[in-house]
Symmetry: C2
Subunit: 365 residues, 2 copies
């Protein structure tokens, strides 16, 4: 099967670019002596997980229990569910753990910490720490940290944080600074808990930018990162990878031609309505237009508007897109986590137009 045979819109995943991104992350962390617990929230695919786990201990991170169940079904048992647990989800985790999984949960809430310890079969738990993102977590110097630990009792095995604010960084220097902030916060929390007599074995941190650009991870036992595998226009803008590091694109067909623009069959559902690059140095609209081989070929042409199933590509009249209806383009995504989530499979290529594999992914909750 070749790309020209595929129905559109669909996802094209370049295995060579993916492998390069995975090697870059592994190399970066190996230099600092810290293993990776890859975050599968972006790829949601066992085939991608197997690549990301080469040379790593074997644990992964997930963002939904649907992911947890899928990966358990594929033999991965060491799973960190990195979104705050609720009482109802705790029951679901207990069921999966009873069936052989070892899902670790997180919380930053005192009542929830007590509920974990009071459960019939409590999972291992981490306290979520805020290192500056101001989304979830308690601050490392807060009294709440020790209160949570006391409530979790023997089920507490560590701490975790996520420097999501690294996405607001705009250079590798910014990223290194935020990585140090992340490290300082999580190791401070671990130290306080150990001083209070708690056995802290997991000190987990990470985001793609900080995992790639950290200069020192002393005291951190594992890093988590996910979007680095696929990359996207936003990550390229903030220097997580180069522009040729985007492994996933959306293959689309021209469905109409009008003066100065073409309509394609990749719209708001196939590309997502994410507009991350609105806040980046360069705004890529709903995606950058590449040729059918995934290479630049249409200058700065962007998907400027996205209806449900229609994308509108506007082009420089000096560089028109001269394709018939049915002609193919590829669109590099703004934010790959959002874009891939509308699709149920990847058509895998290796630099060429031949489809070498089809990898499924798990969506929903």
């Amino acid at each position: 099967m070749r790309l020209a045979d595929l129905p559109t819109p669909c996802l094209v995943l370049d295995r060579g670019v993916l492998a390069r991104n995975i090697r870059a992350m592994a190399g970066s962390l190996a230099r600092l002596g810290v293993p990776l617990r890859p975050h599968m929230k972006t790829a949601k695919s066992i085939d991608v997980a197997r690549m990301a786990l080469v040379g790593q201990p074997g644990g992964i991170t997930v963002s939904t229990l649907a992911e947890a169940e899928y990966f358990v079904g594929h033999g991965i048992t060491d799973i960190l569910y990195a979104v705050g647990i609720t009482p109802q989800k705790l029951d679901h985790v207990a069921q999966l753990n009873a069936a052989g999984a070892d899902i670790i949960v997180i919380t930053d809430d005192p009542d929830m910490a007590s509920a974990i310890a009071a459960h019939a079969t409590p999972p291992r738990a981490l306290i979520e720490v805020d290192c500056g993102e101001e989304r979830g977590g308690v601050t490392p110097d807060s009294p709440a940290l020790l209160d949570l630990a006391a409530r979790l009792g023997p089920y507490l095995v560590g701490v975790m944080t996520h420097a999501g604010h690294s996405y607001a960084g705009r250079s590798t220097i910014d990223m290194a600074r935020i990585a140090e902030q992340e490290r300082a916060a999580i190791t401070r929390a671990a130290t306080r808990l150990r001083e209070a007599g708690h056995a802290i074995t997991i000190v987990s941190a990470g985001s793609s930018p900080t995992a790639l650009h950290a200069e020192n991870l002393a005291g951190v036992t594992e890093m988590r990162a996910g979007v680095y595998m696929f990359g996207d226009l936003f990550q390229a803008e903030i220097e997580t990878h180069a522009m040729d590091g985007i492994a996933v694109t959306v293959l689309t067909s021209v469905i109409g031609r009008r003066p100065g623009k073409v309509l394609v069959d990749a719209g708001g559902l196939a590309l997502s309505k994410d507009r991350s690059t609105e806040a980046a140095p360069r705004d890529y609209g709903f995606g950058l237009v590449l040729d059918a081989s995934g290479r630049p070929g249409y200058g700065d042409a962007l998907v400027k508007r996205a209806y449900q199933e229609h994308g509108v590509i506007e082009f420089d009249p000096a560089r028109p897109i001269d394709l018939p209806v049915g002609g193919r383009l590829r669109i590099a995504p703004n934010h790959t986590c959002m874009t891939v989530a509308a699709h149920d499979r990847y058509f895998v290529v290796d630099g060429e137009d031949e489809v070498v594999a089809i990898w499924t992914r798990v969506n929903g909750w």
Copy 2:
């Protein structure tokens, strides 16, 4: 099963509100003597289609061939695929039609029109006409209209248009004006084609706002509309329906509490990143917060930020959201077509908390 038993995030569909929206549309069009070809691009569910088809001829509109295949599998054969056809998709349509479907395609492209007529088993086709949206379609007075008709030959059965620019209207008076513009354009195209000797039996128009607010549809043989079934905050803002006309909400659980805000498990995937109301009189962020029963109860509280699996609800300190972790809320969506697309089923209620049915939907392409 009750709402309290459901895993979150998930979609809650209120059958009573849905039925009321469907009755309102049917009544509006019945007064003008025009049947409805409901657009299933929003609901993508056979159960919803059956409700929308009561008292109508039985044909539907779809936005993807995955929808077409799904509805054919459920016994609906008269299907208008209302996105410009491509050569490859024409083969797929021909396969479905050979298996008993009667899928009608659309085009505005001369080469594609020739390709339709030259196909081994051409489907019936409509010419797409632009009534002012400036997305797809030829203008009703253009020479291109007659050229397309000549190329399609006997496979031409009609014309279609979509007043998508009605979404830029901000009152029922605006909608009525745009509806008349839509009607004038499509009937003008039909008249020109008939004068040129073509048999035009389908004169198809529509969008939810224009179908509901048209005052005259003389010459139009069918209207298409979809989002009216479910409604959303944007449609409420532009007066397609009242605020209590939103039939679908996202059930979510509190996963964290911080001063002045709560975190919930409905983020950018469960709600979509659509920001339609940014351009509306009132901006609802990523959704309006309702109580677990779907009723207003938290004032103006909105989902202000949406990460992949985290929504951040900020509240007025005078009206705090006092719920424990695991407590339930419902979120009214900005743009329902985008929000529901991340989910594979509806949990159906009828005003109360009991789940009376589970309806599946078809996603992807």
